[in-house]
């Protein structure tokens, strides 16, 4: 400690400049650097063009939309770093809400029991995805496409079979609802703006995932499995366990978001969730994950989700013609991604 301090006072001025350059390069070569640039660009853009966007309340609305994409996207990013896809994540979220509600109302296990059984089911589906992948040696794109379609059908068929309707019954009058709502879907009011607890969980999950990726052995395994699966196996990385574990992690994140949706909106339409799996993957890729695996970050997936949230909400705050809505969203995403790639290329070339 002492030597460091003395050294620092001695050579502070000459070391200052190279240190900043090194720090800049360290930031710029991180996978999420491009997404950070894209996010700042989109934020500034709407800050200038859409006056209501500047308010804190608008910021929390954007964050909420981002959190509902970002919670599964954190897990999907880890899975993608591990070299796999999960196309079933969108409907798995709906499945978890439906299962929780149906278990609670039809099995008589109560809401807590429903949530726990639903968690087990979500983890089991994740494990099934991983197991099928390992056993069949098919690409995860195909395996999870199949489970996506099967889940989509099961969601509707089983809901209808059990309840006679295609939406679950309202659970808000059941005992324990208020406690679980506090856990999964409460709102904190700050400065007149409602902040959903989903945002807090999202940031916590992102921080945990970042710590695991960068500071633990498991994190190294994930990178190794996605980058060079066979070499990883050769040096003793438990490839099968890591992959199945990653799919189960996605299952967990889907369960969590599913519980949030159930307790925030009380009933669930069994046809919901289709198409969202692509948003999770897009958030991860915009955030710096490579489609080929072995590279990416959890923070990046959060930035990707944030960019998407800002874009969809920003178009409304800017009051652009609603007929053009999807076009504007697509164009803004393209712009953010181009800036993102440009920054990444410059950073790596600049070495």
């Amino acid at each position: 400690m002492m030597t460091v301090t003395t050294e620092k006072t001695d050579v502070e001025v000459p070391r200052h400049v190279p240190q900043v350059a090194a720090l800049w390069r360290r930031i710029a070569t991180r996978p999420e650097a491009g997404a950070l640039g894209g996010a700042i660009l989109v934020y500034v853009f709407f800050f200038v063009t859409a006056p209501p966007f500047r308010h804190f309340a608008a910021f929390t609305t954007v964050l909420y939309q981002a959190a509902t994409i970002g919670i599964p996207a954190v897990a999907v990013a880890l899975l993608m770093i591990g070299g796999e896809f999960d196309l079933s994540a969108g409907v798995a979220v709906t499945m978890s809400s439906l299962a929780s509600s149906i278990f609670a109302t039809k099995l008589g296990v109560g809401l807590v029991g429903g949530a726990i059984l639903s968690l087990l089911l979500s983890l089991a589906i994740g494990a099934l995805n991983g197991w099928l992948l390992i056993r069949t040696k098919l690409h995860s794109f195909l395996v999870t496409l199949a489970t996506f379609l099967m889940l989509q059908g099961l969601n509707i068929a089983i809901t209808k079979l059990v309840t006679g309707n295609v939406a679950t019954s309202d659970i808000s009058a059941m005992p324990g609802f208020n406690q679980l709502q506090t856990i999964f879907a409460s709102n904190i009011v700050i400065g007149g703006a409602q902040i959903s607890i989903a945002i807090v969980y999202w940031l916590v999950f992102m921080a945990l995932a970042t710590w695991v990726l960068l500071r633990t052995k498991v994190g190294n395994w994930i990178f190794a499995v996605g980058g060079q699966g066979d070499s990883a196996r050769a040096v003793g990385v438990p490839v099968v366990q890591v992959k199945i574990g990653l799919f189960m992690l996605v299952g967990f994140s889907c369960w969590f978001l599913g519980q949030h949706l159930l307790y925030a909106y009380n009933t669930v339409q069994s046809g919901a969730g289709i198409g969202n799996e692509l948003l999770y993957i897009a958030a991860s890729v915009v955030g710096g994950c490579l489609l080929t695996g072995g590279y990416g970050s959890a923070v990046g997936s959060a930035l990707g989700a944030f960019i998407f949230g800002m874009t969809t909400e920003g178009v409304i705050y800017a009051d652009w013609d609603p007929d053009w809505f999807q076009f504007f969203v697509g164009a803004m995403l393209l712009l953010a991604t181009v800036v993102n790639t440009w920054i990444r290329l410059r950073a790596t070339k600049g070495k």
Binding site: A50, P52, H55, A57, A58, T61, V62, Y64, Q65, T68, L132, R135, T136, K137, Q152, N155, I156, T159, K160, G164, N165, V166, A167, S169, D170, N187, G192, Q194, L261, A264, Y265, N266, T267, Q269, S270, G271, A272, G273, I274, G275, N276, G309, T312, E313, I316, Y317, D319, P322, D323, F325, Q326
Partner: protein
């Protein structure tokens, strides 16, 4: 080793799906060769509203001893393809929602050329005659929209936001145009994407923050009403809410005074009558409606009359 395991899985999957197919077809082949009708809709899968339509259709099919094939797809070209599909199955009649009249025109003509009677329902109130359909049962969406516009005027609304969950579907556009035609204040539309409730909530919330003058929101589907209520309260909460169609939750919200009204087109009747009209036509050559549509709505459900509707809504038929 892996090959055997793989083939075991393959066999297991195959036998499971064969079992599923057998199970599905099992109950349909019961009675003695009755008429076969097809019902084709633009429903999003897993939507409460369409489920009520289907319940009505099934009730009529059971009563008339008709075999009913139900097919749905929310996109224009796929719904059109479904018509070809059932024509190839040589069905005895088709009940369809004319949600995408242009895209479906050619396929409808082919079905008509094959001598299959077609009854329209739910969507296409402005186009069914042009397309050559025999009859039409449903709510005239423009009339319903106009009724909503009048209602908004009567309640003193100044600025209304219309929340449309399926951009480009004609019956939703007709509702909006109807509102626009009679409503005297400022009118705006917001598109959302299907059943993703956080998206619905945050988009409506953003719109209300963007334009605080909005004092009335109208959702074009009842499942969205609770989410929009959440958005209204999150955005500061002074706008009132009305909705097209009914769900059990909407009924409860009307009872609680949180939802001002719902405009009911009686989807159960639409499904029921569409099948029954085909049956009357096939068995007795009847054409009902006198050249006009058979109207099932609009009727307002408000706090004043919600109690009598509630018990049927709970059973999932209103």
């Amino acid at each position: 080793m892996n090959v055997t395991k793989f083939s075991k899985i393959a066999i297991a999957c195959a036998s499971a799906s064969v079992g599923a197919i057998l199970a599905m077809s099992g109950h349909a082949v019961a009675a003695s060769k009755p008429l076969t009708f097809a019902m084709i809709t633009h429903a999003q899968p897993g939507d409460t509203f369409w489920d009520i339509i289907r319940k009505g259709a099934n009730a009529a099919a059971a009563k008339d001893n008709v075999k009913l094939i139900y097919l749905a797809d929310p996109t224009a070209d796929k719904e059109a393809q479904l018509i070809d599909n059932v024509v190839q199955q040589h069905v005895d009649g088709i009940a369809l929602t004319l949600a995408f009249p242009q895209a479906m025109e050619k396929n409808v003509k082919e079905a008509e050329a094959a001598g299959i009677p077609i009854v329209g329902f739910n969507a296409g109130g402005d186009d069914w005659k042009k397309a050559g359909l025999l009859m039409y049962v449903g709510q005239d969406e423009t009339i319903a929209g106009k009724a909503v516009g009048d209602k908004l005027n009567a309640e003193g609304a100044k600025s209304v936001l219309c929340v449309d969950q399926q951009q480009g579907a004609v019956q939703l556009e007709e509702r909006c145009n109807g509102i626009k035609a009679t409503f005297k204040g400022k009118y705006q539309i917001l598109y959302t994407t299907g059943y993703d409730m956080p998206t619905v909530k945050s988009r409506v919330q953003a719109k209300l923050q963007q334009d605080p003058s909005i004092d009335y929101v109208v959702t074009l589907g009842a499942p969205f009403a609770p989410s929009v209520l959440g958005a209204i309260s999150a955005a500061g909460g002074k706008a009132k809410l009305g909705t097209f169609d009914l769900t059990p939750e909407a009924v409860n919200l009307i009872k609680a005074g949180k939802l001002q009204w719902a405009i009911d087109q009686q989807p159960y009747v639409e499904g029921y009558e569409a099948v029954d009209l085909l049956w009357l036509n096939k068995t007795n050559g009847d054409v009902v409606g006198g050249g006009g549509p058979l109207l099932t709505g609009p009727a307002f459900v408000t706090k004043a009359n919600v109690a009598e509707v509630a018990k049927f809504a709970k059973a999932g038929t209103r």
